[in-house]
Amino acid sequence: MSRDDRLMFAFLALHPERARELVERHGSAAAVLRLARKGRIDAIDRERILDLDACRAAMDRAGCRAVMQGDPGYPAMLSDLGDPPDILFVRGEIPAEPAVAVVGTRRCTSYGRRLASSFGTAIARAGWPLVSGLARGIDGAAHRGTIEARGVGVAVLGCGSDVMYPPDHGDIHDALLATGGAVISEYPPGTRPNGWRFPPRNRIISGLSAAVVVVEAAITGGALVTASRAGEQGRVLFAVPGDVDRQASVGCNLLIRDGAIPILGADDLVEGLSLVLGPPPLSAGKAAGRPDGLGGRILEAAIPSATPDDIAERLGLPISEVLAAIARLELGGHVVVDGGLVEVRVGQGVSE
């Protein structure tokens, strides 16, 4: 198939299976195109095939490009799928690093929304890209968490990547593109959000990610679809436990029973993810640098833990200076202050 042929079928692939069917029946894409021009193909398909130019114009308007299987920009991880999309319509840049998917129900509780947002932030802070579906509820909260931390995020849509759906997530759409992320879809620009398109896109979400985090899921719904696809694709599955009698948590609790890793909080998630993805790209560099000057002296004086009063006395410094320096160390993640005690974090000790 020539590039144009494939692009043509991509457009026809408002239902990708239909495109494959046509190619199989008529031998090649070129034959389908020929037959379409002669009017010997079903009217609906024919119109779409011959409307190729209009579709290209829509792509240009949306600043969207088509990436096909085998192209250099096509995400390698998608080849793990049994049914990878032939073509992706991409706005923005798909990050090359392994990503983390955070998904969940649209009908989430405030518990789920809060956690999804904190996970989005934690994942972004650790330096991993976040993939989700831009849907209402958990997806949106996770995206917003990432955006807040200025992280990179990818939204995989079940409609055209230029279609604002749900409409109130337009801000996420824009922010993802502005912070170096991407909005992608296997459907061409202008494709309307029909319900049947959403379950298939879930395989792309898990396909792009090395790990999938399910925050809240009912017993039916897209989140569990994503989870089961993730299982097939060999992705590591995390799930947030919840009340056993709460609708929105039944799916997650089931996943945990069946072997998903339970998440006990944002820090726990980052820890678990580093076992799968390797050390977080951002914090690894940060923790390596030990503060020098006053901060370093305070660290040494505080090992393993001390009150600010003790530190000030040991170093003979005014308490105001010591307090400011401790706050700075705390912001840098070198110490934790708990119950009036300054505790030096592991790995921050004196170099021996």
Partner: protein, 493 residues
């Protein structure tokens, strides 16, 4: 015949003139008719007996005709025995027993049956009303101090006859000391008595300088209460106007004027009723501890022992500086520009995080203890400081810096704030935005926000504290060091 004498009543803490009108009329047969109208309470109705006896004891005849006394404005509820003296003067003038010029005064006092005058509540209000009207204020000689706080022309009298003489200008009356004796005011605790606790001392100093709300958390015996009690000692003196406001609040609560120029320190017990703390009571609302601490310190010891609903009702008045109280027919707003200082143990047994004594609380009881202190209330403390146990070596060591030198720094920082027009505690978001911040200061704030160390309200509170720290250092621009120290003094409980 008709006569009118002015007296005074407090509405909330606001003095209002009360006109005492007396009318004598009718035939001799109407004898024994003596009525008082105008929302008097039982104690005022009893004035009839006291006034009759006192007039007889003063050597005058009580009119044998119908006597009607009206207290105006009629819709203002009036309480207490303080109107005895103006009623008696009015009746004497109306019956023609003394010249009517005796009524050109503001009078207030309780009469004894033998005609002597006793001090009554409301002396300060009478003084303020007299000052406004530009007439002399006649009160009992032993209660003249309170009225004299107003700066009015106060003349103390000992008896009804004496009051008549003073009213007619035949006698100058007795002078009263214009200010209470400073030695009478408890000086509070000197900061030098607090051993160790460098961070907590620093927090108290900053709190004093900016008027910030401060929460002290620590095990029993760490010195939290001592630190709080040392706070008023490092606050600057009240201005004359402030001292008068404080005296007014105390007078409205019927507590006498002994306030002087030092900021008040009130420490209500956690078993106190909401009315005792917020103000209230039946009939005319009376100020509570919150208002008595106006311009001073409200100290809540054992914060977690206070009923949660009471703490929640404190939030808004403390923020606004006013507490609104509505009772049947009267609604008043009492001032409460207080600095809230609270102390609490970290857990029910008190020894959580302690270096020596193990904590015996279960996680559940700790949780329950902490949920009593609602997040929104904790958020309103500008500073939340841990006060650890003091080691024995520090206890026998030398004491810290004394209150006097700390007060000098605090006063200097306050002066900078006065020049800006507002105490740092009261700075709003826009005012804070308008102040100069170094680039590093902004960066620290953003970073703290990003790390979830700050809420939106906390953002402003940290900036207020940082501003005070800069003021103590006499720096015009608040820098990152100031913001960081403010962050370090605002710990999550």
């Amino acid at each position: 015949m008709f006569a009118c004498v002015t007296s005074a009543a407090l509405v909330g803490v606001e003095p209002r003139p009360v006109r005492v009108e007396a009318h004598v009329s009718g035939a001799e047969s109407d004898r024994d008719r003596f009525n008082i109208v105008g929302l008097p309470d039982a104690s005022i109705r009893e004035a009839r007996q006291r006034v009759q006896s006192a007039i007889l004891s003063a050597g005058h005849r009580f009119p044998s005709r119908r006597v009607t006394v009206n207290l105006a404005p009629a819709d203002l509820p009036k309480v207490g025995s303080a109107y005895d003296l103006p009623i008696a003067l009015g009746v004497l003038a109306a019956s023609g027993a003394v010249p009517s010029s005796v009524t050109r005064v503001v009078a207030l006092g309780e009469l004894a049956l033998d005609g002597s005058v006793r001090a009554a509540r409301g002396g300060l209000a009478a003084g303020i009303v007299a000052g406004r009207h530009g007439v002399p204020c006649i009160v009992a000689a032993d209660g003249g101090t309170e009225a004299a706080l107003s700066g009015a022309d106060v003349r103390g009298v000992t008896s009804l006859a004496h009051a008549v003489a003073v009213g007619l200008g035949e006698d100058p009356g007795l002078a009263s000391p214009t200010r209470p004796n400073p030695e009478q005011i408890p000086a509070g605790l000197d900061l030098a008595a607090v051993r160790g606790q460098a961070m907590a001392r620093r927090a108290v100093e900053i709190a004093a300088a900016g008027g910030h709300h401060l929460l002290l958390v620590g095990p029993p015996g760490a010195g939290k209460t001592m630190l709080a009690r040392a706070l008023p000692g490092i606050l600057p003196d009240l201005t004359t106007v402030e001292a008068l406001e404080v005296a007014q609040a105390h007078a409205a609560a019927g507590r006498g004027p002994a306030v002087g120029s030092r900021p008040p320190f009130r420490s209500p017990h956690h078993s106190a009723t909401p009315a005792a703390i917020l103000g209230g009571g039946s009939g005319v609302p009376v100020p509570g501890e919150l208002t008595l601490a106006d311009r001073g310190v409200l100290f809540l010891d054992e914060l977690a022992e206070f009923p949660t609903h009471l703490l929640d009702t404190l939030r808004q008045p403390v923020e606004e500086g006013r507490v609104h109280i509505a009772r049947k027919g009267v609604s008043v707003a009492f001032p409460c520009r207080v600095q809230m200082v609270a102390a609490t143990n970290p857990c029910p047994c008190g020894y959580r995080d302690d270096s020596r004594t193990p904590c015996v609380c279960t996680p559940r009881t700790v949780d329950r203890y902490r949920t009593r202190l609602s997040g929104p209330l904790l958020d309103r403390f500008d500073m939340r400081v841990m006060v650890p146990r003091v080691e024995a070596a520090e206890l026998i060591g030398k004491g810290g810096e004394g209150s006097q030198s700390v007060r000098q720094r605090v006063t200097a920082a306050r002066r900078l704030q006065e020049a800006r027009g507002s105490l740092n505690r009261a700075l709003g978001r826009e005012a804070l935005d308008a102040l100069p911040w170094s680039r590093g200061a902004d960066e620290c704030l953003v970073e703290a926000m990003d790390r979830h160390a700050l809420t939106g309200r906390g953002w402003d509170r940290v900036r207020r504290t940082a501003r005070t720290i800069a003021d103590l250092a006499a720096e015009e621009v608040a820098s990152d060091a100031h913001v960081l120290e403010a962050l370090g003094l605002r710990r999550v409980l």
